[in-house]
Structure formats: C-alpha cells, structure tokens
C-alpha cells in the first residue's frame, strides 16, 4: 500500500493502523498531540468515524435519478378481506410436509386446495394482493401445476415483479403472457409482436389470436412459415389444434411435405382429425381395404383383417411411421396407424350398415380383435367421437376385464373425456357401484369438479363399504385425496355420520375404525373449508 501526498487524513490513519504505528507513524497533524501514538491514532479515528456517520447524507439515485417504469395498472377488483386471509394461510402452508405418507391427521391438506382457490379467484376476476405476490411466485416456481393459474392471478404486476428477480424467470417464459398481449383487433400491434416478439410471446400471441379468430391466426402463421426454425414450426403447428377446421386443410396438406419429420407427422395427425380432409379420405380408403366383413359364407358375421403388406412412400408422406417399435410386427404396426388415422364414419358403411355398437360387438378373425379395437379407441379419442367412445367403453357394470374396446383404465379415461359431463359422471358412478374403487382412480380424474351428485354418492358409498369390509383407509388414500378436492361441499352434512369411530369388529383390521373416522373427519373438514373458501370469494 502506498500513500501519496494527496491522501486524506483518514486514509493516512487507516494506512498507519494497517501497518502498525511502530512501522509507520501517522503524519503530523492527523492525530492529536501529547498522547501515545496508538492511542492518539484511535482518538483521531473515533472522531472521524462519528463525524462521518453523523454527516451521512442521502446518495445520488442510481441511473441519474431516472426512475424505472412502474408496474402497469391492474384493473381487476381487490379480494374480499376473508379471502385474502385465506390465501395467506394457503400459501403459508405451501412448504408443509404433506404427502410424506403415513397418517395425515384430521386437518385438511391446504396445499392441495391452492389450485382450486386460484382457479376460483381467477374466475371471479380478482386481483392478487401486492404483498402476496412474492410468495405466489415462489409457489408457482416450485409447482408447475400451479403456474398457469398463479401467473394469471399475479397479473401484470406479478410479471413486472418477475422481471426484477432472476429466480422468477420462469414467469417470463410464456403461458402467462396473456396480460401483455395486444388487442387482437389491432392488426398492426399483432403483426409487430409476431415479427419482433420472443418465442414465448409469439406462442402466446398465436394461441390468443387462434382463440379470437382462427383464420387470422392461420394467415399470420403462414406469412412467416418458411422462415421459422423446425422446432418453432412444430410448436406453432401444435397451436392449430385449438379451433381446428376444414379451413386449415390446405395449409396442413402443404406441411405434409415439410423438411422436418416431426412437423410432417403432426400435420398428418391434425389432418386425420378432419374427417372431410383429403388425407382422411386417403386413410379411409387404405383402412377399408384392410378391414371387411367375411364373405366366405360363415354362419355368423365376422370381421376379417388383412394387414397392409408394405408402407409405401405415399403412406409415409401421410404420416405413417414405417419402422415399428421393437417387439411389434411391422404389418400390425402399419394397420394400427391406418385405422387410427381413418375417419370413424367410414366403418358403418364398410361393415354392412351396422350401428357402431354392433360393429364393436362383432367377432374378429385370426386374433386381430385386440389390435383393431385398440386402434378404434385411439381414433375415437383423436376424433373426439362420443358414439364410438360410448360403444367402446361398453356398459360400466360389465366386469372390467371384458370390455369391448379396452380394459386399461388410462385408455378408458381418455374415451370418457369424449362423453358429455353428465354421462361421464353417470358411467363412472355405475362403474364404482359395480366394481368398487380399486380401479376407479384414473376414471375419477377425468370427471368434472365438483362431482355430480350420483357420482359423489357412489364414491361415498364405496368408501363406506370398504370401511365395513375392514380394510385400512390408506389403501384408498388416492381416492380419498381426490374426494377431498372434488366432492361437492354439499355432501359434508351427509358424511358427518361417518366420522364417528365405530365399534371394533372382529374381522376388521386392528384400529381401522379409528383411522377411518379420522379420514372421514378430514374429508368433512376439507369440504367445509372448500365451501368457506368459495363463499369468501363470492361474497363482495
């Protein structure tokens, strides 16, 4: 450390203190005279220190006093006070140790209620209280399932805040950009954002415009299509899924010749969902040539299947993947894809004018039944066809392993999604009444919340039966958790009787009665809490 002649007295003191007064005596005049040197130095330093602190004055502002842009105004209404308190409570429990297994006690699991609360608050059009925004963004950062609702609720102020903290970068990656989108009628602004925006903003813009005016969105996309990168093209193409119509066909048909294989197959998939498209027609012809009624004069009607022998270039252009996954024969692999992509409307005519239900019930020769039915299931899901879904699901009371279309709960839940809400709930209710809860979890997952009355009753009855059968409640923890979140709060009163601890039965598992009572108490208290939550949000 060197000192120059221009060093201030304070710097002189620091230098001497650092090196030691034995080695460097502070220059004359910097310390009071008449004392031992170290003491004199400390005297002078104390004087400097207190004087400097007492003389502190505000600093000049950063960036020369130009203040950053304040957050945009949020016109939504403020939360009612009780709802605000509830939100704080739900967020405070966010890091709770729920889901760690074992006993869950009788208190509601607040973490599980946050998504519902956010969805309801957004439906009512409330604005997030400013002081809660950091906790809300932290919650959304930790749980991706919360993000969309949390960011909608956080609104423009949340987005403004997220820009200032790198930990909340996820908020800027799109999905939530709804609040920053221009007016969809303002073509210039839309065009400008489309040409200059970040990828996430463009995806959000395209989705927004698609919802507003499907044709305009297609036009916008087509205008820059050839210049987009392959992975971007794939994402943009995906956003055409919403509002897909025959008007999109020419564009999609063109995309079948795209350079990227993923783009080609997505285009083919979209076209196959348009029964009147040329691709659907080509697929119908190919599929029909493989599946027919047996004309060999057998006594009963049988479907015969002749799987394709090759996968030619035209088929590949239409999105058929030639190479099967390992363990599958290539001919059955091609057949499955053809049937899946062919419009379902082709089959009644092709198979002797039969109804859908009759077709599904027909026997199939040479063990092709599973393959064919599975392909029809995929087609019904893709084309969102309620008739075919209904027929393939069969009657709910039939044993689950003998269904006509599929026996997998995952496939069934997809088929159920094509049915109207009431019918879906009724089907699942009947299924539970006949078979209990052990295979009902995924089916319940696709039912509309809150559950319709018949469905709710079926679930509660099944739980009651399971309890009487003497099993432990945690064998049903998945369904219990769903019931806490999805059962209509109006059921709470009816459930009250189940919260009592019953007398121990001889054949029951030890202590099960107490655990069931606890589980039902939690169910009731959660339902009450949900009712209170919704009431707080409605009151205003």
């Amino acid at each position: 450390m060197t000192t120059t002649a221009s060093a201030s007295p304070w710097e002189e003191l620091v230098t001497s203190a650092l090196l030691g007064t034995d080695r460097r005596t502070p220059p004359a005049g910097t310390t009071p005279a008449g004392k031992d040197t170290p003491v004199a130095l400390l005297d002078a330093a104390a004087l400097h220190t207190v004087r400097r602190r007492a003389g502190l004055s505000p600093a000049p502002p950063a960036a020369g006093g130009t203040l950053p842009e304040p957050a945009p105004h949020d016109g939504r209404r403020a939360l009612p006070l009780p709802a605000r308190r509830r939100l704080v409570q739900l967020l405070a429990d966010r890091s709770g140790s729920s889901g760690s297994g074992g006993r869950r006690g009788t208190a509601p699991d607040l973490t599980e209620l946050l998504p519902q609360w956010l969805a309801a608050a957004n439906e009512h059009g409330y604005r997030a209280p400013a002081s809660v925004l950091p906790a809300l963004l932290d919650a959304a950062r930790a749980r991706t399932d919360l993000r969309t609702q949390a960011l909608t609720f956080a609104g423009p102020r949340g987005l403004w805040l997220a820009r200032l903290n790198p930990e909340w970068k996820f908020a800027l990656r799109g999905g939530s950009a709804g609040s920053t989108l221009p007016d969809m009628e303002d073509t210039d602004a839309v065009r400008k954002l489309w040409e200059e925006g970040l990828f996430a903003e463009r995806v959000a813009l395209l989705a927004g415009l698609r919802a507003h005016d499907a044709g305009a969105a297609l036009e916008l996309l087509a205008s820059t299509w050839s210049t987009e990168r392959a992975e971007d093209r794939l994402m943009f193409l995906d956003s055409l899924r919403a509002g897909l119509s025959d008007a999109d066909e020419p564009f999609l048909e063109q995309a079948l010749s795209d350079r990227s294989r993923n783009v080609r197959s997505t285009a083919a998939e979209l076209l196959s969902a348009l029964p009147r498209s040329a691709l659907a027609g080509r697929m119908a012809a190919r599929a029909a040539s493989c599946v027919a009624m047996d004309r060999s004069g057998a006594a009963e009607a049988v479907i015969v299947v002749e799987a394709p022998h090759e996968c030619d270039a035209d088929m590949q252009r239409d999105g058929i993947v030639p190479a099967p996954p390992s363990g599958r024969g290539e001919r059955s692999w091609w057949l499955g894809q053809l049937v899946e992509a062919a419009p379902l409307s082709v089959w009644p005519d092709r198979l002797g004018g039969r109804s859908v239900r009759e077709i599904v019930a027909l026997p199939v020769s040479d063990g092709w039944a599973d393959e064919l039915h599975a392909a029809w299931c995929r087609a019904a899901v893709r084309q969102h066809d309620a008739d075919w879904s209904r027929a393939l699901l069969g009657t709910p009371a039939a044993p689950p392993s003998t269904g006509p279309g599929t026996t997998s709960p995952a496939e069934r839940s997809k088929l159920l999604s094509a049915l109207p809400d009431d019918e879906r709930a009724a089907w699942v209710a009947e299924f539970i009444a006949a078979h209990g809860l052990s295979e009902a979890f995924q089916l319940l997952g696709v039912c509309t919340v809150p559950w319709a009355a018949p469905l709710g009753r079926a679930v509660v009855d099944a739980l009651d039966i399971a309890r009487d059968a003497g099993s432990y409640p945690w064998s049903f923890s998945g369904v219990m958790g769903l019931a806490e979140r999805c059962l209509s709060p109006e059921e709470a009163d009816r459930l009250e009787v189940l919260t009592a601890t019953p007398d121990e039965q001889e054949d029951a598992s030890p202590g099960a009665g107490g655990y069931w009572s606890e589980a039902f108490q939690r169910l009731v208290s959660t339902l009450r809490l949900r009712a209170a939550m919704h009431e707080e949000l409605t009151a205003a």
Binding site: T21, P70, P80, D93
Partner: protein, 467 residues
C-alpha cells in the same frame, strides 16, 4: 422537514368493507397471527389447525378473549384460551411451546372464520383463567407490591456491590485499552491471520470484567477481517469506537449525566425504566428477532400517535427459543409505556387499556434526507448507535446494480438498502407493494444503510411486515 400527512385515512381494502371491527376488537390478519409462532414447525402445525374441522365451542368476546375446544388424538379435547390483549395463551395440551399450535390454530380461525368463532359468552372453563389473569395483571399495578420493593431492602449492600462491579469494569476497560494500543502498534494486518481466537479471548476477559457490552463489541470485531474488501477501514472504525467507549467509561465522572447514562448502558450495566410513563395510542410498527450468541432478542418498535415518540420494547429468550412477548404488527394499542431515559428509544410496556384496534394511517415520515438527519442527531446523544428508527414517505424501491435503493419520488436523493436486508424475502414484498410507485416505509437507518421493516401502500389497504 416535509409536511406530514395527517389526513385520517380509513383502513380499507381497496374499496371493500373496512376490516371487521366487532365492538372495537379488530380481528387480526393471518400474517399477524403467524408472526407470533415461536418457530417454523409451530407455524405449519398451527396453519393446519386453522380450519373449522377439529374445533368446537369456539368463540370470542369484546374484551379480546378467544377460546375453543380442539379435538386431538385423545378422547378429551384440548381447551385453548387466548387473551389477545397480552397476548397470553392457555392450553391444556402438554406442549411447552408458547403459543402452542392449538393457540395459533385458534387465532387463525378467529382471524379467518367469523362463523366458527362467533361473539358469545365466555364459557366457565375459559373464564377461570381469564379472570385470574386479569386480576393478577391488576394487582401488578399496585405500587409497592412488586419485586421492586424487595430489591431495595439493603441499599447499602447494593451500593457496595455496584461499586465493586464498577471497579472490575474499570480494570477491564483499562486492559482493553492496552490491548487495542498493542494491536495498533503491531498493525491491523496481523488480525487477518489470527482469526476469531484473538477476539474471543479478549471478549472472555471482558465477560470476566462484568462488562457484557464491551464483550459483545469485541466479539463482533472477529468477523470483520473476513468480511470482504474495505475491512481495514471497518475494523479501524469499530476499534476506535471501542476505544471511545473505554475512554468515556474511564472518564465518566466528567460527562454530563445523560451521556454518562448512555455510556453505562453501552458498557453493559442494566438500568431500570425510570419513566414517567406515557399513555398513548401506540402503533405497533415492527417486531423481529435476532440471535445474539446465547440469547434471542425480540425487538418491537412502537410509535405514539399523540406523543409522536418512538419506543423500543426488548424481550429475551434462550438461544433458539423466541421470547413469549409479542404484539400484532399493524394494530394499535392504548397503553402506558415507560422509557428508560430521555432521548433513548428503549422502553417498557405497562398497562394496556383494551384490546388492539385497527389503525387509520401510517406513522408520519419524511424524505430520504430526513432519515440521514435523524440518525445524525441521534449520534449526538449516543455516538455508538448503528442505526435509528425512521419512517420514509413517498419513496420508491429501485434496483441499483446488485443492490437496491429507496429513492425519493422526485428522484432527488436515495438511501441504499443495507446489505443484510437484501437477502430477506421482505425486500421483495416491499418491491411488489410499491410496484415502482411511492410508498411509506418504516425501518432502521444507519451507517450500513436502510433496513426496511414495515411498509404501507399508498391506499393504506394493509400494513405489510417486511421481516
């Protein structure tokens, strides 16, 4: 100073109805309840109990009492009572935490759910404890009946004890002076290698000398050499202030009495709150805990509406266990507060008259320059002050490189946010609350910068603790 906003503002929630004020008792906000939790585990457990499920027979009354029966794992429900004026808690559960999770759950329920905790008659089981507690509180008010009378039983012995202690402190201060002089002779650079050991040993000597104030200061020196660029300056500053305190103690007979009292306090001699008591409507500005070695110190800042005074209440708990005493931030209590001495903020809370109520406006404040002024003025009475409580009005939080500033709305001047506050979640609450527009902030300002503690948005819709 700037003109202060004295226009009464209604506590409103952005256009909705004012906070529920049944017969004068403000139900607290959930944050206020959770701020009473002794630790994180209690906060979580309490949150889980803050729903109607396990509760029955819950109620509250206009005196600030809240009670309820909580179903636990046993057959008999726990009986939980809270006197929110204390606040004080009573629960039949075996937990040794105060407040226990049942008390927290009950208060949360009371805060959030007016149907489950309605206004009603105090049940017998709760009444017993409540009336016992209140009569004890009243008895404490009787002058002469407290332990103070017993203490002064032998004034002569007490005087001799005090003299002996002063002698030991004098010996300690003299030794410390010698050590500081040796240090300066050899150079501060040597301390970079010696680590904490040197200071710990010196601090232990000061503990032996019964000067805990000196010991704490010396112990803090140990962290400075590892605190990054500029440490020699900070170390010299702190050494010189210890030297100043030593010299002040050794020459205390020549100091004016208020300054001598400050020196006695800084060295570590305890004193009693002397009064006179000030009755006022005290706004609870902030409450936070800090761990100082073996002790947890809880600080509660109050602002007197009529007197304009700022008071600091201190309470202590063992390490890791927060003190029982707590007040709800953002509410106002009608109470007597006894200061420890003129010009010093430390005070003791006396009688409370009625339960906490909602506030109408934040405390009056000023621009950035007023905070620097206030700290400078305070240093005249106590040059060892690290910071001073100030309220800033019309300031905007603005990012400044890796840190943050609070900038006057006209963009004229700014205060840096202290490094210690940059990592706290409260900073983001402040930024969110302001959203780039002026807000009112209470905090501590000193040579390390501004530590924001509480903020009020422009529409006064809420009080937001930033700790």
């Amino acid at each position: 100073m700037v003109p202060l906003s004295v226009v009464p503002m209604l506590l409103s929630n952005g256009g909705t109805a004012p906070a529920s004020m049944d017969q004068g008792v403000a139900r607290w906000a959930a944050e206020q309840v959770l701020s009473l939790a002794p630790d994180n585990a209690s906060r979580k457990a309490g949150s889980k109990l803050g729903a109607a499920g396990p509760w029955s027979g819950a109620g509250c009354d206009s005196s600030g009492a809240v009670w309820g029966l909580c179903k636990g794992s046993g057959s008999k429900p726990y009986q939980t009572v809270v006197d929110t004026t204390g606040p004080a808690y009573k629960c039949s559960c075996p937990s040794r935490k105060f407040p226990c999770k049942h008390a927290l759950g009950l208060l949360l329920l009371w805060a959030c759910d007016e149907q489950t905790v309605p206004h009603s008659e105090v049940p017998e089981w709760a009444e017993e404890w409540l009336s016992g507690r209140r009569s004890r509180a009243a008895a404490k008010e009787q002058p002469g009946a407290g332990p103070g009378a017993a203490k002064s039983a032998d004034p002569e012995a007490a005087r001799r004890r005090a003299e002996r202690r002063a002698e030991r402190i004098t010996a300690g201060a003299t030794e410390l002076e010698q050590r500081l002089a040796d240090l300066l002779r050899g150079g501060l650079a040597a301390t970079e290698r010696s680590g904490y050991g040197l200071w710990e040993e010196t601090a232990a000597r000061m503990v032996d000398a019964q000067a805990p104030g000196l010991a704490a200061r010396v112990r803090e020196l140990g962290a400075i050499p590892g605190s990054g660029p500029g440490w020699p300056v900070r170390l010299l500053e702190e050494c010189s202030l210890i030297h100043l305190l030593d010299s002040a103690w050794l020459g205390r007979e020549r100091l004016p009495e208020p300054l001598a009292a400050t020196v006695r306090g800084r060295v570590g001699l305890s004193s009693a709150a002397e009064g006179p008591a000030v009755r006022d409507r005290w706004l609870v500005l902030a409450q936070y805990d800090s761990a100082d070695g073996k002790l947890t110190t809880r600080r509660v800042w109050l602002h007197g509406r009529a007197s304009g005074r700022t008071a600091l209440l201190l309470s202590f708990g063992a390490a890791g266990r927060p003190p029982q005493f707590a007040l709800p931030v953002g509410l106002m209590i009608d109470a007597e507060v006894t200061p420890y001495g003129a010009g010093r903020p430390r005070a003791e809370l006396g009688t409370q008259f009625g339960p906490p109520v909602a506030i109408e406006a934040p405390p009056p404040g000023g621009p950035c320059a007023s905070a620097a002024d206030a700290y400078g003025q305070a240093l005249r009475d106590d040059p060892w002050l690290d910071s001073w409580p100030v309220t800033l009005t019309g300031v905007i939080p603005v990012p400044d490189g890796t840190g943050w500033q609070l900038v006057d709305a006209d963009g004229g001047a700014a205060l840096p946010v202290a490094a210690a506050a940059l990592t706290r979640p409260g900073l983001w609450k402040l930024v969110a609350l302001a959203a780039g527009r002026p807000v009112t902030v209470f905090g501590e300002f000193g040579h390390r910068g501004f530590v924001p503690l509480t903020a009020w948005p422009e529409d006064m819709s809420e009080t937001v603790p930033l700790i």
